[in-house]
């Protein structure tokens, strides 16, 4: 694909590093039932994805929402999404090994960006053909992680969350008693903490303390309660 409008730089001189393939669903709407869907034509403008750790790695998302970035740093990186030059959000991906291909699906609205799905495809033989040990795609016990989803049960000190998309095989336990809380981008307050209720959309940042094929525990350092 050639972008005629500029800004694109999917450079990959050596083919090493981490490759990211992504799809941006603009203003997409959906339903929890797989049988029911609704759609919305995109109203957003030109979408640019920039890697925070290396701003020369920047691509313009194509008309059908697909994009690809190569030579990303192993370990982790943050993707910054902007629409018509205005930053609308960012996604941090951690615990990525060299040679991995990451596939993400992102839902983008006028005001925020949400990671819907993440899958990894390890090309260097260090994981792709090995049995899966962690129920969270892209998750490694002991590493930092970011998750998006909805609160399934619990309260602000300890809750279970349902991760968006197909990223996690089951509910994830989140210990959040020591986490800072933010609501819709505001500074955390006690009142914000009280907004954590069953069903709310949250973005959790923290450490994946334990992970098996059937259970995962995260000690959160930050919980962002998203606007519905």
């Amino acid at each position: 694909m050639l972008r005629c409008g500029g800004g694109s730089n999917p450079a990959s001189p050596s083919g090493s590093g981490v490759k990211l393939q992504g799809v941006v669903l603009q203003n997409a709407t959906g339903n929890a039932s797989s049988a029911s869907v609704s759609a919305r034509s995109a109203t957003a403008g030109k979408i640019v994805v920039t890697v925070q750790e290396n701003s020369s790695l920047s691509v313009t998302v194509s008309g059908n929402g697909t994009f690809e970035i190569q030579n990303l740093p192993a370990g982790g990186f943050t993707l910054i999404f902007s629409v018509n030059g205005v930053v609308v959000g960012q996604i941090t991906i951690t615990a990525v090994s060299e040679g991995t291909t990451i596939k993400i699906v992102v839902k983008l609205s006028d005001k925020d960006v949400e990671l819907v799905d993440l899958e990894t495809d390890d090309d260097n033989g260090q994981g792709g053909d090995q049995p899966k040990t962690c129920m969270i795609n892209g998750g490694t016990a002991g590493s930092n992680i970011e998750l998006e989803g909805n609160v399934a049960s619990g309260d602000s000190s300890q809750f279970k969350m349902r991760v968006n998309g197909n990223r996690a095989g089951d509910l994830v336990d989140v210990a959040a008693s020591g986490a800072s809380y933010k609501c819709n981008g505001d500074k955390g307050t006690v009142d914000c903490k009280a907004n954590l209720k069953v069903g709310v959309k949250v973005h959790v940042r923290g450490n994946l303390t334990a992970c098996s094929t059937s259970a995962a525990s995260v000690t959160a350092t930050q919980v962002m309660i998203q606007k519905d």
Partner: protein, 186 residues
């Protein structure tokens, strides 16, 4: 009633076989071009690189002569595929003009320019189903050639470059097609 696919295939084979027998009887003769002013239709397998995705599908077109060596044409192609766990579909609808160049013994090269649009849909099916759609407008330039098998049938290969504009900016997507073309008797 729509004829079954095997009858169409038999018709095609009979037509080509008949033409081959005629060609053997007249070894020096080249496959006679049927009346070049008659309309033609084509159906082809088609590959489209849409954004970063590789999509596969079908391309159908129809054309008719409006000036010597010039034909007006309409083209419809449908492609689908997946990328990063998302199912993608794209429909291109174009119309324009085709310029025929001097034919060879079997070959009939051409160039074409069309204007039209494309509608793409991205669907992600996880714990919820998300759909995003986009309509783009623009055009395509392309080159191709027919290889005549008989007075009516030809193999057609062509390559196009779609230049499309949407709110997301400009996209340039290459498309390759290979299939059969049929020229109607007058």
């Amino acid at each position: 009633m729509k004829p079954p696919a095997w009858t169409v295939l038999l018709f095609l084979l009979a037509d080509v076989a008949g033409a081959s027998a005629a060609a053997r009887a007249r070894p020096a003769a080249r496959p006679a071009a049927s009346d070049p002013s008659s309309p033609d239709v084509s159906a082809a397998y088609s590959f489209l690189r849409a954004g970063e995705a590789h999509l596969h599908g079908a391309d159908v077109s129809a054309s008719f002569r409006f000036r010597p060596r010039w034909r007006l044409l309409g083209d419809l192609s449908l492609h689908s595929g997946s990328f990063a766990g998302t199912h993608l579909k794209q429909t291109n609808f174009m119309a324009g003009a085709r310029r025929l160049f001097s034919p060879g013994r079997h070959w009939q090269p051409f160039a074409q320019v069309m204007l039209g649009g494309a509608h793409s849909t991205s669907t992600f099916e996880g714990s919820e189903v998300l759909i995003s759609s986009q309509t783009s407008w623009g055009g395509t330039v392309g080159l191709g050639t027919d290889y005549r098998l008989s007075p009516h049938w030809a193999i057609r290969g062509q390559g196009d470059y779609l230049i499309l504009h949407s709110s997301a900016g400009w996209d340039g997507d290459p498309r390759l097609s290979l299939g059969l073309a049929y020229r109607f008797p007058r």
